[in-house]
């Protein structure tokens, strides 16, 4: 599964885009993905918040993921 990372998320994983190997167990939902990420990179648990965008729209925890979705990890935004 291809994932995009921004801001501090990019620093945590060390790349802006990676093909993530979840040990063959691909996350089915946004909620699964967040859990898998936090397991692999404990730093994500320390952030003020963690959001996921699917095809450049904010996605709730229960949104199901398709293999061709553009999935982005959104740490706390701080524009302006």
């Amino acid at each position: 599964m291809d994932l995009l990372f921004f801001g501090i998320a990019k620093d945590i994983v060390g790349a802006s885009q990676i093909k993530m190997d979840f040990g063959g167990k691909l996350p089915k939902s946004v909620s699964d993905l967040k859990s898998a990420l936090k397991d692999k990179y404990p730093e994500f648990s320390k952030l003020s918040s963690l959001a996921v965008a699917v095809n450049s729209e904010y996605a709730d925890d229960n949104v199901q993921l398709q293999s061709n979705d553009e999935v982005a990890i959104i740490p706390p935004v701080s524009g302006g």
């Binding site: 801001g7 965008a53 982005a72 740490p75 524009g79």
Partner: protein, 138 residues
């Protein structure tokens, strides 16, 4: 076109009045956010802005649409800079124009407040000996 939405390397503050001007507008309200040299008593050398551009533009359009729906506005501008910005550089410009001033003031405040909450743009503060992603940690 009643909205102008942009993510750019360099913000030009001189064009915004022209962009918001409208024969039916008696009031134009503009907010410009700029780089402040001191944060929490520490000297900021520069800010670095990063964005998820396709999504940020979508969110900025949504934001403008909500404002256009909520208030009676003739024009809306939302522009954000990316890349490295020095002290006093403009980093964001939001503005609205309307027949009467209350609408453009309220809309302008809404635009900047909501942009800061929803638009995927990230700011790193560069201090002398460290750099910090703003708001990342509680």
């Amino acid at each position: 076109m009643n909205k102008i939405i942009e993510i750019v390397k360099e913000l030009d503050t001189n064009t915004v009045y022209q962009e918001l001007s409208h024969p039916q507008s008696g009031g134009i309200c503009v907010f410009v956010g700029s780089v402040r040299e001191i944060t929490n008593n520490e000297q900021v050398m520069a800010l670095e802005f990063e964005t998820y551009e396709s999504m940020a533009l979508k969110e900025m359009h949504k934001l403008a649409d909500v404002a256009l729906e909520k208030w009676n506005l003739n024009k809306v501008v939302i522009k954000h800079a990316v890349g490295k910005k020095d002290v006093q550089d403009p980093v964001v410009i939001v503005g609205a124009s309307s027949a009467h001033r209350t609408a453009c003031f309220e809309a302008c405040r809404f635009l900047i407040d909501t942009l800061k909450e929803t638009v995927p743009i990230w700011k790193k503060e560069m201090f002398k000996n460290k750099s910090v992603w703003v708001s990342a940690h509680p």
